[in-house]
Symmetry: C4
Subunit: 234 residues, 4 copies
């Protein structure tokens, strides 16, 4: 297909999924506020995206817009090559990474990127966060893994995320010297994973500062993960 | 009694205590906001419960509901086996632990659970917080003790809480690799204990990072605890 | 004089200073909010008082009342023996310490007490905060000193504050294993000193964690203190 | 020119730039709120200024005014010698440092000064923050450098800022034992640089506490800086 044909096909899919996309734009404004509420981002350094059901498209934050000025109609829609399909603003500079994840993980409905301080400190040392908390058994099913060092601008970051998460039950990956990417069945789940990533990154950091946390038996981690996945919540 | 008979008996007791239960539901919404206000919880990872006076029942948060969306009518009532007596939502996944405490500690009117960061860091090392602050003499009457490692899903956590607190004047226990449970004569007192647990966990952590805090004489701890218990407040 | 005569004399002085006392009650409600705003207190663990001009009296917070529920008419007036002169609530349990400072430091118009985390961590090690920041030259004129360990309930804490501050230009003292007391020409100045105490306690703590801060020449500290005292502000 | 002649010339330039100056006064009130929002300042210890386009003048915060009471008409206008040109309040005590930067860096449209905790901790050790985060490549193009120890009251601080930044791509300098100064093409950019300075100061501090962060290749830092400078934002 030519670029024009691709764009037309994308616009048709968007028209079919119009209601879903509009709902997601509103939801994403609220979820970016959650990044602020839980102290995960500074200035404009973080973003949330959501897959548009029934289309190879996702909604994402525009680049460099302050969180307290975000409105639903500023949100942009992109395809899985990271190309702008709808919106008058430039997409987040992390759009290619989000796009790669959606293209290669059909189970993922939401992606979040932050540079939250404690988690990024582990990432700067390229050190996984060990599963020494029951909360880590619950939400991450084990350690939070480290992905490769990758530069922005092409598929490198997306590839690193997908490859690292393929070998883990964790919905979060610490990209080396960079920050956190999380995935979820929807955008809200990915934001939750981002909030809990920073929380456990902080708690284990603090524990390690004054000695060594006691390890949790891998069988107990399995028990916690299974129960949390199948019983927790409404 | 059959399960149906138990449920009917519980519903009768709840009918008799209806006004108290309704008042507690309103109070608990406000007390969950205190968990946020003092930075004790992230996402939905913490809960407060309150004993219904005159009944073997308690009110507790539903599982997985965001703190800023909690309403009094979402609160659920459970019996001391952790069974749902009233409410349309699923109770907190920590309900069995709360239930065990109420069943075995008739003096307790409120229970709080958090994963607050500094306190949970001590819990991850399974290390009690030493009483090196006058605030610890006041509120805890000594060290904050560590309870056993216990998995969620049965009475293990509740047993660990009750057994550990039986040997201490502290209203708080650090459950190994898990987090904080606190008790109080009412729910507000238990929330206060949770807030002060995190505060002293942080302060003693900071003190230890650059040397050793000076110990307080046990007799002075006793003096502080007695005075605070009998003189402080209105 | 008999106790009744003392009380009558105090009530006469209060009547003469009625407008000042009422103004201070309103101001103190706002200043307790500043303790919250700058993260200096948890739950009800801190208080601000203000001398009533023209009377040997001061206004102080009642014991155990939550900051967000404080109203001007809840504030209580005490004399320099710590006796209640006006108000229906019990004064702060730190009232004797405040009273002693007003009785022995006629230049002091406001007193603040907190357990702010970083400053109290230095206090737990009984270690003064070294003057390695220009902000410390400005506001404290040197190190922030440590006072003795003293129990609540009599003049011990007040004596420790006054004796320690007599040998320093600092408006703040770290009471051993306890917390911070600050003084000022008025209550607002004392709150400012409490906020800056925690700020420099944190910054020097952080600096020390990764090495040794570089000392500032004592002559430069003098220069900073003199300039700040005489030039800064409106 | 005599002092009177200088003042008259400045007032004429201000008259010509009246609309710009008024717009900047409003903008600066909002930008001082950003200092609070991102936790960069305590009490009144920080300030933002903005160059008045088309005039050798800048708008700056008055000295010692609380951030939540700042109004546009309280903002003062100064010339590049730091002399007050318009306004009834005394300018910030850091005015000479701001003035020197505007006089010697015609590309700078905004200047910010903070004592933010983590960054000032690096400054107290006189240690540059190493570029071990992709965010540092983006925003700072390398390490954040340390400037000399300089006393307030003359051109020393301004000279230190300008000389240090002349040898770096960083918009931020850590002034020894003092705090942070940042520059930008406008005041908003300088505030952003101040917020990101504290963020990376914290993250690298945390990373260093438990080991050594992995270095980023200088060529990758160049790539990140070039891309961020030319592609990011709207």
């Amino acid at each position: 297909m030519t670029d024009d044909q691709v764009m037309n096909a994308n616009l048709e899919r968007l028209a079919a999924a119009r209601d879903e996309a509009d709902r997601l734009k509103v939801e994403l404004v609220g979820l970016h506020q959650e990044l602020i509420r839980w102290g995960l981002v500074v200035w404009t350094a973080g973003n949330v995206s959501a897959r548009v059901p029934g289309a190879d498209l996702f909604v994402i934050k525009p680049s460099g817009v302050a969180y307290d000025q975000l409105t639903p109609d500023q949100m942009v829609v992109c395809d899985f090559e990271g190309r702008l399909v709808e919106g008058s603003l430039k997409p987040s500079s992390d759009t290619f990474a989000h796009a790669y994840v959606y293209a290669h993980r059909p189970d993922v409905g939401g992606v979040v990127h932050t540079h939250s301080s404690y988690a990024t400190a582990w990432a700067a040392r390229r050190e996984p966060i060990p599963a020494v908390l029951t909360m880590m058994g619950d939400e991450f099913g084990g350690d939070i893994p480290v992905g490769p060092f990758a530069l922005i601008g092409d598929d490198s970051i997306g590839q690193g995320i997908v490859a690292t998460l393929a070998e883990s039950r964790s919905p979060a990956v610490l990209m080396a010297n960079h920050g956190v990417f999380t995935i979820g069945r929807d955008a809200r789940s990915a934001v939750k994973a981002a909030a809990l990533t920073e929380e456990v990154a902080k708690t284990v950091h603090l524990a390690r500062q004054l000695g060594e946390p006691v390890a949790i038996d891998p069988g107990d981690i399995d028990h916690l993960f299974d129960r949390y996945t199948n019983v927790y919540g409404q």
